[in-house]
């Protein structure tokens, strides 16, 4: 095998998994860097910062960020984090590497489509990043790209010309890639399990990947159609999302008949399920990690499966809660409100079962376990503010304030990232054959845990004051004087939290060369990926979480172990 077919255009699921992981790590670093720059500008809007000038000689001439630059960083931060980090690592990265191993398959069902799907994702990322360097810079319409702002071209501002077009193309490519991935995952899980691996013996991670793939299969289909329509509006002069009588920048637009609300419906029909695409695989990882490190079976395995299926389906019924104040029919708001709180029920079931899993266990507080426990903590914190936002009457104040920013960063960003980190610490030995440093891991963990609470809880307070989000400067409003101290605190906490992530990167690199060699099954886990590599097909005889089974000879029974005696 040449270098190219082995490492670059490989069809091996492990290589593709690592490729996804590295791509997402790059994206995460870029996305985090952007957020730090944004915080810097927000806190010191007048300061002349040399770094800005070096990075953007035009948009930050003299070292002061222009509002459009700030908004474009915000747009890119959101897009990169949602699509190329949260959607990519848990499914593309971990899923590709571990799904075939966990179900005892040799590879994914369609290895070549798998490779294609990764390269389409990578291309989508490159296309998105190229928006930074084209004329006008990156788009400034936010990751939701609401028209008319996003549909009328460069008269709506710098970055809304070529940059915005690249954004749409990137998202369309990403849709195609995710669709290929989803087909591959579902087919693999349904067709390629080893003997004895019935659906209800699968580890919860596999269930999570299955449900996530099902959601992707449908959600990205809708976003793809919406993307085509937005592209037509931008490049071909149609007016799906543009009503009559628009006057932008003193120019009267010759468009007619469309409705901006239509985009919001289409986008959130995808966008809300997308939240679950980001978090469900993490839930699977956390369930597994909690079980392994408590030496106890998952509490209510079947309830966990049904809760995931319920979340997956209900996720499609609640898109309207992003649109309570959008001018949508107010009757729809009430219906969406009921459905939104209904989705809290399976989420509560999961939380309850996680607590049930660790209750009465023997908790080994390794770093992976700490991340999983912290996931439960932030999941509850973020979920509770979601209950407030799910009520249209309260959303009428909190919508588009920092309360929302705090909420979704905790529940979607932080929780998903914690589960990714739990997965990384748990699976790194399998991926590389070496252990990560526990000491570095703990320092990284404690600072990050405190850091995210210090960053995102104060945002709720800013939201209560009424601080609107997506403002590049808080100087124009009297009432925003009061929150500036708060923002300064948030910025400092964010700096610290971002800086300590370098420790994590260092840990990864250090471990590759100096890390302790890991055995085949360092955590004494039961699932098939921890078996030594062999060409024999495994025959599965038990469920995925047989820990501390009474009468067994040791406190775990692997899935292919026929008898514990």
């Amino acid at each position: 095998m040449s270098f190219l077919s082995r490492y670059i255009f490989s069809t091996n699921h492990k290589t593709i998994g690592i490729q996804y992981f590295v791509l997402a790590l790059t994206a995460a670093l870029l996305g985090t860097a952007l957020s730090v720059l944004m915080r810097l500008h927000l806190t010191y809007p007048e300061a002349k910062i040399r770094l800005f000038e070096i990075l953007w000689p035009n948009a930050a001439a003299g070292g002061v960020m222009t509002p459009e630059l700030y908004l474009s960083l915000m747009t890119m931060h959101g897009t990169i984090m949602v699509f190329f980090v949260l959607t990519t690592v848990p499914q593309g990265g971990f899923g590709n590497f571990f799904l075939p191993l966990q179900i005892g398959a040799e590879d994914m069902a369609f290895p070549r489509i798998n490779m294609l799907s990764f390269w389409a994702t990578a291309l989508a990322f490159l296309v998105l990043c190229s928006a930074f360097v084209v004329e006008g810079g990156a788009p400034l319409a936010g990751w939701t790209a609401y028209p008319p702002l996003s549909a009328v071209g460069s008269i709506a501002g710098p970055g809304m010309g070529k940059g915005m077009t690249l954004w749409v193309v990137s998202i369309a490519l990403f849709c195609a890639a995710s669709l290929m991935g989803a087909i591959n995952f579902i087919t693999t899980i349904l067709e390629m399990r080893t003997r004895g691996m019935s659906l209800f013996r699968m580890p919860l991670t596999c269930w999570a990947w299955l449900v996530t793939a099902l959601i992707s299969l449908f959600a990205f289909a809708v976003l793809f159609a919406a993307g085509i329509l937005l592209l037509l509006d931008r490049e071909a002069g149609t007016s799906f999302f543009l009503p009559a009588g628009l006057v932008i920048n003193d120019r009267i637009l010759d468009r007619k008949g469309g409705s901006p609300l239509l985009w919001q419906h289409l986008f959130w029909f995808f966008g809300h399920p997308e939240v679950y695409i980001a978090i469900l695989p993490g839930m699977g990882v956390v369930s597994t990690v909690l079980s392994v490190f408590s030496r106890k079976p998952v509490f209510g395995y079947r309830a966990m499966v049904w809760a995931m299926l319920a979340i997956g389906f209900l996720g499609f019924l609640v898109w309207g809660h992003h649109m309570f104040i959008s001018g949508m029919s107010p009757y729809s708001s009430l219906a969406f409100s009921v459905l939104t709180l209904a989705i809290g029920v399976p989420s509560a079931v999961k939380t309850f079962n996680w607590l049930g899993t660790i209750l009465g266990g023997r908790l080994h507080l390794e770093t992976a376990m700490l991340w999983a426990l912290a996931f439960v903590s932030v999941f509850v914190t973020g979920g509770l503010s979601g209950i407030a936002l799910g009520q249209p009457a309260l959303d009428m104040y909190f919508h588009d304030t920092y309360f929302v920013v705090g909420h979704f960063h905790i529940i979607m960003g932080v929780a998903a990232v914690f589960s990714i980190l739990a997965g990384t610490f748990y699976w790194w030995p399998k991926m590389t054959g070496r252990m990560l440093s526990e000491t570095l891991g703990r320092v990284h963990f404690y600072v990050t845990f405190l850091g995210v609470y210090a960053v995102f809880i104060p945002m709720h307070f800013a939201g209560i004051v009424g601080n609107p989000r997506r403002y590049s400067d808080f100087g124009q409003f009297e009432f925003l004087k009061d929150v500036q101290g708060l923002h300064k605190f948030i910025t400092h906490a964010a700096f610290l939290t971002a800086a300590v992530q370098l420790l994590f990167i260092f840990n990864l690199i250090w471990s590759l060369y100096r890390g302790k060699k890991a055995g085949d099954n360092p955590w004494n886990a039961t699932t098939l990926e921890w078996l030594p590599p062999s060409h024999q097909p495994h025959i599965v005889v038990r469920g995925a979480y047989d820990y501390s089974v009474p009468g067994a000879r040791r406190d775990f029974l692997m899935q292919n172990e026929s008898n514990g005696q």
Partner: protein, 262 residues
């Protein structure tokens, strides 16, 4: 063990942050705003109890069951507990919906009265304008081609329209205290959002739609209007003020504006 203690401290710190109310809502100026505040308080108390209970329980379990060489108990779950929990959360969440739907309905389903003062509210990048129908009580026609801010015609009212002759256009929103007002929200270009903190209301302005919003302020004073939906690079400076005047003073102001027009 260290993590358990840290978790407890964090949970109490978060709860304290919401309890001390150093950063909080501005005082309410309408009945709706007061109802909003009590609804939020109820949510905060219920949510706060659940938050502390779960975080403290999590910390406790970590503390109590940390590895001290004990054997883990074997348990795969309990359907009965599961069902109890599902019922409890379902009741709690549906209760939350029921409790808050009244407030939503009061804003959106209260029928508009013909006696309501109507004010057209228009947003454009990045300014607000307001139009009063004048003594005849009728808004004149508008034509986007005639929009001219410099000439004081932000709505594009043609010169030859009788109904539009007496219309009054302003850049600040003046309303009488204690009287219901209908804002007819329009946008000329992109999405905007009308947000007044003290009223606790927020509504998008959508081009191609006319969205009515019924408000009533009871306390006089000056309050800031902020755009709360991303509308482009000047989003952060799209500001105006809501001036709530005593009803008599407002009538006098409106009459005077009308006179100046003629």
């Amino acid at each position: 063990m260290f993590f358990a203690i840290l978790l407890w401290i964090t949970a109490f710190a978060v709860a304290a942050g919401f309890f001390v109310k150093r950063w909080w809502f501005p005082p309410p100026i309408s009945r709706h705003a007061m109802a909003f505040d009590s609804l939020f308080a109820a949510n905060l108390i219920a949510g706060g109890i659940i938050f502390l209970a779960v975080q403290l329980a999590l910390g406790f379990v970590i503390f109590r069951y940390r590895d001290r060489g004990q054997r883990a108990t074997f348990s795969t779950g309990s359907t009965r507990l599961e069902i109890i929990l599902i019922s409890l959360t379902a009741i709690l969440f549906l209760g939350a919906v029921a409790a808050s739907s009244g407030l939503w309905s009061a804003v959106h389903f209260t029928s508009m009265q013909s006696s309501d003062l109507k004010i057209e509210t228009a947003g454009k990048q990045f300014a607000w304008s307001f139009r009063y129908p004048g003594p005849d009580g009728k808004f004149g026609k508008t034509d986007v081609r005639l929009i001219n801010d410099a000439a004081g015609n932000p709505f594009g009212i043609p010169d030859d329209d009788a109904a539009g002759k007496d219309d009054i256009a302003t850049s600040a929103l003046r309303i009488p205290a204690g009287r219901p007002v209908q804002l007819l929200l329009h946008s000329h270009d992109v999405l905007h959002n009308f947000f007044v903190r003290e009223l606790r209301v927020k509504q998008d302005l959508v081009p191609g739609m006319e969205i009515p919003l019924r408000i009533q302020a009871d306390k006089t004073g000056e309050y800031e209007i902020a755009c709360s939906e991303l509308c482009g690079l000047g989003h952060h400076q799209m500001r105006s003020v809501l001036i709530v005047m005593p009803a008599a003073e407002f009538d006098a102001w409106l009459a005077q504006q009308g006179k100046r027009k003629q």
